[in-house]
Symmetry: C2
Subunit: 419 residues, 2 copies
């Protein structure tokens, strides 16, 4: 089975879902999707995309960062970019990223069937959005807006020890020439992406789709609590300097901080040294992830986290060290495109629900340089990055429909010189 | 340099320390001692012990569990056993276990120089006390009292995947015949062991040695908190079921339980799944170790730990599962031998300090079957299982002296039919 390419003028949400199922048939399985970036199965997904373009009046090529560009030339060089990513986490879901690519494919198909569009429209399959193999997410979109740190990239390895520069080279990507992808942004006037929510909020509200107001800012840090390793039997409680107890105090405090500021805070990883049942942990490393749509609130949470960590360390006679992992500011989307999305959601599902995105998307990088907006579909039980990831078909249809309407409004705005 | 074997009638604590330094010269190094059980360097340590016996009227052999027995036949078959272990943890200290073996060696030397002792005296170098490679401590002493679970042993592997039964076979130990070591206990009437405290209490009291009243009972469990893995950015705080938060609540609660009962409680290991910075931990596994010298208090702590775990799980919408790891009841030492040790400590350092041992020792296994007592020396800063492990020479001398006096009193008690 291959993606459908039956010609038809009107944008068909059903065809988007059919294309998604074709992709899942080729690159999914009982354990979930297998489209890890820079692997043969990811290339297989990209081949399916290229096959689906057969007969369409488009130019297809890859930029210097491995992003696939499908360009439908319009009457003017000003460009609307749509897209998302075909890569997935290992054992991932069938919709994460793929929805945006297939919805964009259908947009290209329907526009092409209508003749030459007034502006150029490009579908991009961004390379390695997930960062699941080398821990650098948003790889391809970051390259286009120049936010990659090449020196950091040089040092990245996967679990097997393979080096990112060598793996990139195997895929025709030269780590010393990633900046070449910057030129793709020259005529870009707007970016629109549709994605599953990957969270439970829309479902809990009984809604299928919504406008996305922006992506939350993120602070990611590693915290290292250091006390004194000691024998679990011979060190009296009152003489201990227990780093895991300090980490535990912090984990509870940071949750309270997230709740109080209506943000999200997470300790998702912990490791103790020596890490055995018979020893007090002399050192405990944890990760912290905190997100907020408002930059001031995010800063306040971050400041309070530092106070909480210092207090937790002091309470247990430990020291605390912070190691920076990642930071991205909140990325509010563009007012005119937000209005286009709101109108489209209202037309399709009859409400004005809008949410900030707690997850990062390629739209987070695009929003740094060009007017951007996103549409969400619901996620069943909020699950993503797992084979259980799913969305009711009718919500996928509504999301594709609202995306199409938003894109056409974006084209109108570009033509009107308002973007 | 080899262990000293100069003949001299009187028990010489200085010779014990000299033997310990000779052992450290052969099997230590800048990173600490390297006498991991069932490795060539452990065998090298045992060879040093055998070399030190040259010229002594002793019978030396290994039992079915790999314990080395050095037997000085007395006028009667009733036997005093002394000993400890030459094996160490990787990068361990120079005194842990070795002190007891070398102090016992000096006892054999001094008794042999005095003629045939009234009862038989045996020095044992217990095999694999630490359990550092296969996670089963007290291997050799447990074999002698029949407390090994052979079926559990069959499944044990080291970090490289080597199987315990095969490694034992390489050392002449048949896993199906470990019970043969039981016969060694037939004539044993008492067991005396000297060991470093491995904790900071004696040092904090300004003392060099003390009588040990028994070894604390231990409950070791693995706790598995299960919630729901979720995206760190998209799952609202109020909808989370965060297993690491549940584990954190438990870690703080169990510390309070240990303090309140004047026992010790430790969470030394934690592991989260999926265990990444960007995900709420759906599952967190931690270990719990709790110890008390009083069986009733230990049971109360254990019961309260179950209540605390249930409350922590419920507070975070998680479930809790317990996996049993290890259990040993408190092992109070023998009244007559305790009196002998107290008298000896009083003679040597002039006080009546006594402590329970928070660490397990081979004496914990021996105490199941025969009258047992221990003497502790101090540990600088309470450190053990590390190359920094050390004890002032004068404290080592006092410990060896008090051990010698206690052993001679034990011999008198055996002769008098009081053990």
């Amino acid at each position: 089975m291959s993606a459908t390419s039956t010609a038809s003028t009107a944008y068909s949400p059903a065809r988007v879902v059919a294309d998604l199922r074709a992709l899942a048939d080729r690159t999914g399985g009982p354990e979930g999707s297998r489209r890890l970036a820079w692997t043969p199965e990811w290339l297989s997904a990209r081949t399916l995309l290229r096959e689906s373009l057969t007969g369409l009046p488009v130019e297809v090529d890859e930029d210097e960062a491995g992003n696939v560009w499908v360009v439908l030339r319009g009457e003017r060089p000003e460009t609307l970019v749509v897209g998302s990513h075909l890569d997935s986490v290992p054992k991932g879901g069938w919709l994460d990223g793929a929805l945006g690519v297939m919805a964009g494919l259908e947009l290209i198909r329907s526009l092409a069937a209508e003749g030459i569009p007034p502006v150029t429209v490009a579908l991009v399959d961004w390379a390695d959005e997930e960062g699941a193999r080398f821990s650098r997410s948003l790889f391809g979109s970051a390259a286009c807006v120049g936010t990659l740190d090449i020196e950091v990239l040089r040092g990245l390895t996967d679990k097997e020890g393979a080096k990112l520069p060598e793996i990139l080279a195997q895929h025709g990507v030269d780590i010393d020439n990633l900046d070449g992808a910057r030129t793709r942004m020259n005529d870009v006037k707007a970016y629109v992406e549709v994605h599953i929510e990957q969270g439970p909020i829309l479902e809990s509200m009984g809604k299928g789709i919504c406008t996305v107001t922006g992506t939350k800012g993120i602070e990611r840090e590693r915290l290292i609590f250091r006390g004194q390793a000691a024998h679990a039997g011979t060190m009296p409680m009152e003489m201990r300097r227990d780093s895991f107890r300090a980490a535990s105090r912090f984990a509870l405090a940071i949750a309270e901080i997230g709740e109080r500021h209506q943000g999200v805070t997470t300790v998702g990883h912990a490791q103790c040294w020596p890490g055995v049942v018979t020893a007090v942990a002399g050192e405990t490393r944890i990760t912290m992830d905190m997100r907020h749509i408002d930059a001031g609130s995010l800063q306040a949470m971050f400041d309070e986290a530092h106070e909480a960590a210092a207090a937790a360390a002091e309470a247990e006679g430990c020291t605390i060290e912070w190691e920076h992992i990642f930071r991205i500011p909140p990325m509010p989307f563009h007012p005119a495109l937000l209005e286009a999305a709101r109108t489209s959601v209202r037309e399709v599902e009859g409400h004005d629900v809008e949410l900030p995105s707690g997850a990062l998307h390629d739209a987070s990088e695009m929003a740094r340089e060009v007017p951007t907006v996103m549409i969400f579909s619901s996620s069943i039980a909020g699950l993503s990055h797992t084979k259980e990831e799913d969305t009711p078909d009718e919500h996928l249809h509504m999301a594709a429909d609202a995306f199409d309407r938003t894109c056409r409004r974006a084209i109108d705005l570009i033509v009107a010189g308002e973007l």
